[in-house]
């Protein structure tokens, strides 16, 4: 039926050219949106490979201006801060996301058990913290971390944001969709709660865990603010804090200075190379993880 009507409307379009015009406009508009979205990234790549002099003279528009140069990459890859930043981020992302998932699972599982006496209490206990504004918490949270002597420790980055209440609630809602009979049958067979969790619940929750894990991972990878506040040793900085120094603060400073000397010529290209080096891992894994985010959005919007 659907196919038939599809064919009908197609043949109708072929006859009536007037119907094609809205379609052409539609495709054009979407294409323009895509070009606007992708252009900055293409430019950054082109600029990073261009002759620094050409970049300085505003001659790069879309494609790299010859002579093709990898000089900027040589310079940035020699910069120890980038490598330290990468290593630190890898550490924070790996262990941080693991802690995030562990705490979220430990919270969500009991909260999903319908006969658990503390279910209602835990739901309120966790949900209520979603209403606390980040701005209001900024100073008190900093003082707590300070009084625990966690300032300037890698541990602070790992545990201060060990769980996001919103993701706990999403995971709980997902666990709740697992049929209660499964639990009861396992219980009758003498399974412990830990066995039910690890052998029944977790194996069927792969997609939900992947989605939430990726959200945590993105947060860990992208976050710079609290790392900047908690840490004051460059050796512990994650990549984003390093990037802020190299491509945001450096540029702001430059812009204040109205007569930039030729010394800045190389700096521009190096900045673009830095952006490429820092964004490459995301560009590589993005196509593979995209579907989990598409899933995650709808998971979050229908949460109960």
């Amino acid at each position: 039926m659907k196919q038939l009507s599809g064919k009908l409307s197609k043949s109708r379009k072929r006859i009536n050219i007037g119907n094609l015009i809205p379609d052409i406009i539609l495709y054009l508009v979407v294409m323009i949106i895509c070009i606007i979205t992708i252009y900055p990234f293409l430019y950054v790549v082109s600029a990073s490979f261009s002759d620094p002099q050409a970049l300085y003279e505003n001659r790069v528009v879309l494609v790299p201006v010859m002579p093709f140069s990898v000089q900027s990459y040589k310079l940035i890859l020699r910069d120890a801060r980038i490598w330290t930043g990468y290593a630190n981020t890898l550490f924070y992302v790996t262990f941080g996301t693991a802690i995030n998932l562990l705490v979220s699972i430990l919270a969500a599982y009991p909260m999903s058990r319908k006969r658990f006496s503390g279910r209602k209490f835990m739901n309120i206990f966790v949900s209520i913290t979603m209403f606390i504004s980040a701005t209001g918490m900024m100073i008190p949270l900093y003082l707590v971390v300070k009084s625990l002597h966690l300032l300037n420790t890698r541990l602070s980055i790992l545990i201060v944001f060990a769980a996001f209440p919103f993701y706990v609630i999403i995971l709980r809602s997902f666990f709740e969709t697992i049929p209660e009979e499964l639990f009861e049958a396992a219980k009758l067979d003498g399974a412990s709660e830990l066995m039910i969790l690890t052998q029944i619940v977790l194996p069927v929750s792969g997609a939900a865990l992947a989605t939430i894990g990726l959200y945590y991972l993105t947060n860990r990878w992208n976050g710079y603010f609290w790392a900047m506040v908690f840490l004051n040793n460059e050796k512990k900085y994650p990549l984003q804090v390093v990037l802020r120094q190299l491509i945001v603060l450096a540029s702001m400073g430059e812009e204040m200075d109205t007569n930039i000397g030729k010394a800045a010529t190389n700096a521009e290209a190096v900045k673009y190379a830095t952006i490429v080096v820092a964004t490459l891992p995301i560009a590589v894994i993005y196509p593979f993880i995209q579907k989990y985010f598409v899933k995650g959005v709808t998971l979050g919007s229908v949460k109960g």
Partner: protein, 304 residues
């Protein structure tokens, strides 16, 4: 039957509470204790005396803030960014979703969605870095084009009047593709029979949009709108901070970044906490208000 089941203890209370110990500890230490720390807004907090021994000062810091030149400025900037975001940023994902929904070619649709979702995965540090370099009066590509067209370079990041629009534009750039997924999900939930019936009645594209598509996603739009209202004054300090410099603070300073500057840079803890509490109270009021309204549209949607 019920009595016999109960003997088997369908839930092992002790094991579940055991799992919750680290969860409860985390929430108490890093969520609930900071909330109680808000009390320093009413004290003259000194790090040497500790919270308990610091003297009470009542609403002194609130009065100081309300009577200062900053109050009007940061409140105006915060609200302006909030309103401009509702006017310009809020409709974009709806428009994009409608455009993508109208595209019949599956491959074209998939590629467009992949491209428009890409900026969401790039950290705001990188996006701010690209923006600042693009807008640079000397080497930026935007001013390069302006110069080539015979204009004078515009100092985008040094003139206060541009800041709100630059920030909103970057928000649109980063978030539109992501939020559009929510609307696309809502669009697929519309009954296709409605469109077929409309086709039989000879309804055109525009009529279908007005009478079927828009009413179909209206509940989602309303929910998203109310969520947005709830977050009206919660302007992200992580994002705004990256685009700020001393010259444009008159428009770029929002409540949350002001708390950061006074509290974490200036170590004026009590004053900053008072400002943060002021934001929290308004934000809480807005969230409760919008949740109440949202409850009318969809009962599960409360508690966002």
């Amino acid at each position: 039957m019920k009595v016999r089941r109960k003997k088997f203890r369908l839930v092992d209370e002790r094991a579940l509470w055991l799992m919750l110990i680290p969860v409860i500890a985390y929430f108490i230490i890093f969520k609930y204790i900071p909330v109680s720390g808000i009390i320093i807004a009413f004290k003259r907090y000194s790090p040497f005396k500790g919270i308990a021994a610091s003297p009470w000062v009542g609403f002194l810091y609130f009065k100081q803030f309300f009577h200062s030149v900053y109050f009007g400025r940061v409140l105006r900037n915060t609200l302006m960014i909030g309103f401009l975001s509702i006017i310009f940023e809020f409709p974009m994902p709806i428009i994009l979703a409608l455009l993508l929904n109208g595209i019949k070619n599956k491959i074209f649709k998939k590629i467009s969605q992949t491209i428009t979702l890409l900026p969401y995965f790039v950290s705001f540090v990188v996006i701010a870095g690209i923006a600042i370099n693009f807008l640079s009066p000397s080497t930026g590509v935007i001013n390069g084009i302006i110069k080539r067209l015979g204009g004078n370079p515009i100092y985008f990041m040094q003139k206060p009047k541009y800041f709100w629009f630059i920030y909103i534009f970057l928000r649109i750039f980063k978030g539109t593709g992501y939020t559009a997924i929510i609307y696309l999900a809502a669009l697929t939930a519309i009954d296709p029979n409605l469109y077929e019936a409309a086709d039989c009645d000879g309804a055109g594209r525009f009529n279908k949009l007005i009478y079927i598509t828009l009413p179909g996603i209206l509940p989602t739009i309303m929910i998203m709108f109310l969520v947005r209202i709830g977050r009206l004054i919660s302007v992200s300090f992580e994002e705004v901070l990256l685009l700020q410099n001393d010259v444009i603070l008159s428009t770029a300073e929002v409540i949350s970044t002001f708390v950061y500057r006074r509290g974490l840079i200036g170590a004026d803890y009590s004053y900053a906490t008072a400002v943060g509490l002021f934001e929290t109270v308004i934000a809480l009021f807005l969230v409760i208000f919008s949740n109440k309204l949202a409850g009318r549209f969809r009962s599960e949607a409360t508690l966002w």
